[in-house]
Symmetry: D2
Subunit: 287 residues, 4 copies
């Protein structure tokens, strides 16, 4: 039941792509993926990248695609869960400081809110009265032992909104090893404190709505003309299905050729299409 990606994509006017496992992996870009974007542009198919990566802003993310050889993935094409967190803070947190777990680079999202962003590493647990929100952004940029324990006490001692900008549990660092993602740390703190955090990122439909609302074409033509392409059943495919658009599973990341059928059967998460990859390999830009 494996289909050719070109034939699939020809049925739609707008395509949403997941990033990791679809466009790139821990070694760099998926070979020839740039041909897919040449094809989309040539055929007037609009595209967006929907990523659970809140470790950098869209400008930095776009820069990394440019460097790797994918100049068509520009800043305005990238929608990240960090942007959802930013919008939440803008509308719901009226002032004061927002503490964050992550690198200075990830705090980029917070600066745009007008709130004073402070790294958890710089928080003094005895002076927390002006901290009005806490955001999980990235798994680096702090001392795990000291700062995760400090964060736990901040959540216990102050009743403020806590936002998880990325609910992924782990991510690959190379062909063999994975790393714990911020979503797992947040889930652990939620369990210990019994509090409910506010979660952004696929499979939650927020990011799909955000993308939809920024695509005049999609709104005009309707959801039937949009395709979500992803490598992960319980984020990309589940979220796309729930939002009511068609979904295509590709086998270049979390889900493998050898077990995709079993995975679909055991999870009950059913993509509309399955393709080996998102590469349109035969295509060459006409110069």
């Amino acid at each position: 039941m494996i289909k050719d990606f070109r034939e699939v994509v020809d049925q739609y006017d707008v395509v949403f792509f997941d990033a990791f496992g679809v466009l790139k992996n821990s070694s760099g870009l998926i070979p020839d993926i740039e041909k897919t974007f040449d094809y989309l542009v040539a055929n007037d198919i609009e595209f967006y990248i929907l990523t659970n990566d809140a470790s950098k802003g869209p400008a930095k993310l776009a820069e990394s695609y440019l460097v790797k050889g994918l100049p068509l993935v520009t800043e305005d094409k990238i929608i990240s869960s960090g942007m959802m967190a930013r919008d939440y803070l803008k509308t719901k947190v009226k002032g004061g400081k927002v503490a964050y777990l992550g690198t200075k680079e990830s705090a980029h999202y917070l600066e745009e809110t007008g709130l004073h962003a402070v790294s958890i590493a710089d928080v003094d647990i005895n002076h927390i009265d002006d901290i009005n929100a806490l955001v999980f952004l990235d798994d680096e940029g702090f001392d795990w032992f000291k700062d995760i324990n400090k964060l736990l006490n901040l959540v216990r001692l102050r009743n403020i909104p806590v936002i998880i900008a990325n609910t992924d549990r782990s991510y690959p660092v190379n062909a063999k090893e994975v790393s714990i993602a911020i979503g797992s740390i947040a889930e652990m703190i939620e369990k210990i404190t019994g509090k409910k955090f506010i979660k952004f990122g696929k499979p939650d439909t927020n990011m799909f709505i955000f993308a939809y609302q920024h695509t005049a074409k999609a709104q005009e033509l309707g959801k039937q003309r949009i395709l979500m392409v992803g490598d992960t059943l319980n984020t990309d495919i589940l979220g796309g299905n729930k939002f009511g658009i068609d979904t295509a599973l590709v086998l270049t990341g979390n889900t493998l050729m050898e077990n995709y059928q079993m995975r679909i059967a055991t999870t009950g998460i059913i993509p509309d299409h399955v393709c080996e990859s998102a590469v349109i390999s035969g295509y060459s830009k006409i110069l």
Copy 2:
């Protein structure tokens, strides 16, 4: 920190109300709640009812408000999780039969999809090849022992989308007793089969987006001008907060005066306002 509902509501242009525990309870309408709607109309504040009730269609729900003495809650003001399920089926299920758990009345949502709706009670487990989706609508209208077991086997034997139109776990039947809601039955089947179902209803933000997209005023003025009013922290308030609108907790349903502070502190779900009820008692319509 208890505020007067009138003073709260005056700060907004659009108000979303939960139904059960806010407008009505197991005894009928909350006394004087009709005055609130007179006030909203007189002051040009738009309103919608956002309910996790998928047991009847909006027309039937509106009829029940009319009978009880609340004629201003008309069909077009009601947004239910059943409507989310209906839209999903319309866009994602291409043909065939859709099986449902619920009364014939709840199946109203399915008829509008053009799919052939069949009650789980009428399904023959040996002939299920043409069933392309399953929907949990209501806890009545079938034999629990026979039909919940049949449904379990349908989910095991056929890999189709399964939709939960109401994720509530229980609902009150009188001042003392509660009943198991369809959300609990669905969760049990999910656990047994290990499959992921598609869930609609608060705290999921789908219903908020649906309401938002149907309110020209809200879209023009922005989310800052909308208030969500509910009695339940982990559905109404969590969902409203996540959608990025202000929230008001009322103490006429699931959350009580004697423990609302403790509940807010232990769950970390923080409403922007707390009011005794949604009643604007001092108000009288000028004739």
Copy 3:
């Protein structure tokens, strides 16, 4: 790495068997399983049946083995999770009534406690002050809709110990279909009420300890001389491992030849031995 069951069993002095999926399935006895018991007796290897079945007492269970052609599995060889529940009630509930969910036959366990057993079907929810415990025994013998809802309210209105005599989530009724087991119903009520129930049955080690304490030989020779044989990784094998005895997985029930290696790898539950079945087929009793 599949081993011959005879060679495995020769290394031990005492063997604990799971029942369903090891000795019998929905069609009856596993063919030739009686030869295994002839072999054990001839070789002076002691055996016990450890079953999560609380639907009947040991006498009735033994009778069913006799009828099927396995006379060596006598009443004194059977240890069931119902016996754990019985012992709990004997020591912890001082008097009054104990309500139960199940058939009159399953209530056998309760009669031995000296408490007055009353079926949930016969409970009047307005007169529950003398009910001092509640036990989940079997999924039949009551009206699911009426009585499970009544039970929910009993748990909410009276703070009494609630005992689950069987934590299995489902059981096979024929080659194609399964039925919801009492463990799933209990788990649903636990979720709705937020209360903690007391659970007996594998993988909990209680039943292993009970068996161990009734086996003079095991106590004398030590745990190293005991083998647990089961078809289910997360009950039989997990429980046996945790109790500190060797474990053998057989492939005649829940775990199949085609996926046992994948199941062991994904769950991390590792049996010491894997055998096609518990049958010692080559063996004939010397007359």
Copy 4:
């Protein structure tokens, strides 16, 4: 319904005590608790300490009681979840290395097993073929970022038994702050990998059985003559109840005078007695 501890204790022949929150807290010993032990000795009531603390061996734990002024709590009176883990490794792991998360001091338990213990900090993830088990012992003694990520990959890459010697989620470090306990770290890794770990410590009944089997008096007189004293409903009281002995909740730790009734009602975990503390304050040793 608060009872005097002396009157409660007089009804039993053997008493099991939890340590933290009952005998001591983050400031040191509970004032006058030594009088309780004088009383027990004078009245020939046997006692044991049942602790989920696997960070040190019984000798070190006893030493700390001696230093604090409680010389009657000697090494032979202490039963810890680390001892359960040690026994598991002794019977179930046949050779090779056992990796551990914790301090060198916590590894004391592993040395007694004859296995070669290696700190996760010293594991080379490219040479793990001789590691045959992994044990979570303590939250200190390693680099959280580097070593917890390394441990995650060890669990993914090698299918070996993983043992959690302490399932507590957090512990108090002073009157205001808590620290993340090893049980939370283990639970996070379990979630990420989907594997089932082997858990020791209350509420699991293993530790109660171990204590019971080491008390000739208890075995002779029966479970009815044993009392479990603890400050935590979901470990001490739940575990004691399940084991079938009487339980007493004290209000000097996790459960407070102001909310113990609410906690008992919401959890459904019901102690047989509630006492302000385990102190028998009026008692003076006769010299």
